[in-house]
Amino acid sequence: MIRLERRPQPSRLWTGLTPLLAVLLTMVVGGMMFALLGKPPLEAIRIIFWDPLFHPQFAAYSRPQLLVKASPLILIAIGLSLGFRAGIWNIGAEGQYIMGAICGAGMGLAFYPTTSPLIFPAMVLAGALGGWAWAMIPAVLKVRFGTNEILVSLMLVYVAEALLASVSQKLLRNPEGMGFPGSRNFQQYPAAANTEIIVGTGMHWGVVAAFVAVIFTHVLMTRHIQGFNIRLTGEAPRAARFSGVSPARIIILCLGFGGALAGAAGLFEVSGPAGQITIDFNSGYGFTAIIVAFLGRLHPVGILLAGLLMALTYIGGELAQLMLGLPGASIQLFQGMLLFFLLATDVFTNFRIRVGTTKVA
């Protein structure tokens, strides 16, 4: 008889191993799916995981694109991981991302067409503040009235989407856009544009910010008392309270940090790769980042790697569509498998398999 037995301590080996195992299982089962679709499975897997990095024709373009695609995911996931460590579930990063983009873009467009080196930093600040303020709504409601932050933050995503639709048609609409919705394009407003710092590398300010956030969070969690308090709150809430950690403070801190990073990510995206505020500017980064956070084991360096891996499946998935004519939905399914197998193999972190009869203790 096979049964699961809880480990006394989560296994360190399995904590590191499960993401790799999940990727491997995804390749195998995903390959089977591609084969069922009548496409060469090995070639498809190679295109997804290898070609964006090493294909002679595409790699020069897609390698920098990995950074561009991964940076908002990493930035948001880092912010979320803090809260997730403390047992605070901010599901509405998508909304905070949108509000950051609106506030930051609004700040930049307010100065159009003047030029000053201060405009872009002000936009970053406004973006982070916008995301922070949006995250403060579920935070304050939770602290004051004990509302559920999962529901409130998630519902606020839809409010943010409605606001996005409104500003792209009214407040921030490009006056020279012939009545079409959408703001001015920041690519045509250099003073406020988030351009590549080194041409051809994909390295824009959002990528820099993502790396800084990774390092900062790593230090915070391992070296700083607040990091300890956050972990304590998540792992042993009662112990945290006894040792004088204020739950309200942790809630405000974690949601605020997550919101600010998501907001900043929104600003970097709107002023850089996206270029403009449009009705459907947001493309689900706030939700994908949740996957990235867990795939990276809520660890800053893990999140960095997970973000890059996720970006690889996006870009490789696009190449596979282009070169093999794979349906778009099969790529989404492929990405879904990754999370599914991660959660499934995660069981081994906390449990071990016992074969044989139960011993009576």
Partner: protein
């Protein structure tokens, strides 16, 4: 491996032709035509029709072309990457088939001066970027006429997508002709803020039907409103972008069909011949870019005959759906008696005509 070498030879060939300045036709290699789609190819509406036209291109040219596509490409940062990768893969001509691809298309086109781009429904052109769209409002006039004749509650529901000139034109054209057919009609308009979202579209259709509408017009691409109308029973609908014939004869009584195939074939031909130029195309029923799906038996003979007569008069240019006297919603004069709307007014249309209630969300 085979494919890889093939791709690089195509790319090399493009490079060579570019430097020599000879048309791609001089090569034996097939012309590679790419398509960027905003929805899934199985959406049954907008993207479905673009993909059908892609298949028509393949069929028409056979070995002379190779086509590639990418579906469900989000408008925004991802679009620019998708278009760039397509250009890198050696495409000679790329159709970007949604309004939101406008800036990305122009950006990528600047980086690939030897690749030709065609952007649907936009207004920004360059030496290697052409734009094309269809005069869907001509089809809306025929829908409006049938709707006005068929409604018994005098309430017509309209599921609108985004408040852009294209959609507003459709509403105005349908309303003007419904009102002509039946002076008592009222329009209620729901803004869905999506091109394709079956759940949202279905909710919108149900809400309109509950409020007494017995005709549903839609400017969104899924068949969800058709299904909602079928469930409700005595409600008629019109296929949008595609024929949606699976819902005929009821609730779908007719449709507007986007037929991109003749245009795509003509443009690919131009690339093969080396005569491609950046152009601005806005065609309607006459040249066949807008088709009217078969009017089903649920429509009485006389109404059907009137609708077909209207279609013919639009097709041969005798009649313009926006012919004065027409006032704007606030009562100011837009078009005097007998005057027809200039294209400029239509392209930037941001107002309702007199008689429509409610505001354009702004």
């Amino acid at each position: 491996m085979n494919r890889r070498t093939l791709l690089s030879t195509v790319a090399a060939a493009t490079l060579v032709t570019a430097t020599l300045g000879t048309p791609a036709a001089a090569q034996d290699d097939p012309v590679k035509v790419g398509f960027i789609y905003v929805g899934p190819i199985g959406d049954g509406g907008w993207t479905y029709e673009h993909n059908k036209a892609r298949l028509a291109v393949e069929e028409h040219f056979g070995d002379k072309v190779e086509t590639v596509y990418q579906e469900s490409v989000p408008e925004g940062a991802d679009a620019e990457r998708a278009i760039t990768q397509m250009a890198l893969s050696g495409a000679d001509l790329i159709f970007t088939t949604s309004f939101g691809y406008m800036d990305p298309t122009v950006n990528v086109a600047a980086k690939f001066p030897d690749v030709k781009f065609e952007h649907a429904t936009g207004f920004k052109r360059a030496d290697n970027v052409a734009v094309y769209s269809a005069r869907f409002y001509e089809g809306r006039a025929i829908q409006g006429h049938i709707a006005g004749k068929m409604t018994e509650t005098n309430k017509i529901g309209y599921i609108a997508s985004f408040p852009i000139p294209e959609v507003i034109r459709g509403i105005n054209s349908a309303y003007i002709h419904a009102k002509k057919a039946n002076p008592d009609v009222e329009f209620s308009i729901i803004w869905a803020y999506t091109w394709f979202d079956p759940a949202k579209e279905s909710d919108a259709a149900r809400a309109l039907i509950e409020n007494g509408a017995d005709v549903i017009l839609q400017h969104t691409d899924s068949t969800a409103p058709q299904a909602a109308a079928q469930e409700a029973g005595d409600v008629i609908t019109f296929g949008q972008a595609s024929d949606m014939a699976e819902y005929a004869p009821m609730p779908r009584v007719s449709s507007i069909i986007d037929d991109w195939a003749p245009y795509y074939i003509q443009r690919v031909e131009a690339v093969i011949d080396g005569t491609w130029e950046s152009t601005d195309t806005w065609d309607g029923i006459g040249p066949g870019m807008v088709g009217i799906g078969e009017i089903s038996d649920a429509v009485p003979e006389d109404v059907k005959a009137e609708a077909l007569a209207l279609k013919d008069s639009i097709a041969n240019g005798e009649y313009h759906p926006f012919t004065g006297p027409l006032n704007k919603q606030d009562g100011t004069v837009w078009l005097a008696e007998g005057e027809t709307a200039p294209d400029g007014d239509l392209l930037g249309m941001d107002f309702y005509v007199e008689g429509l209630s409610g505001d354009i969300p702004n």
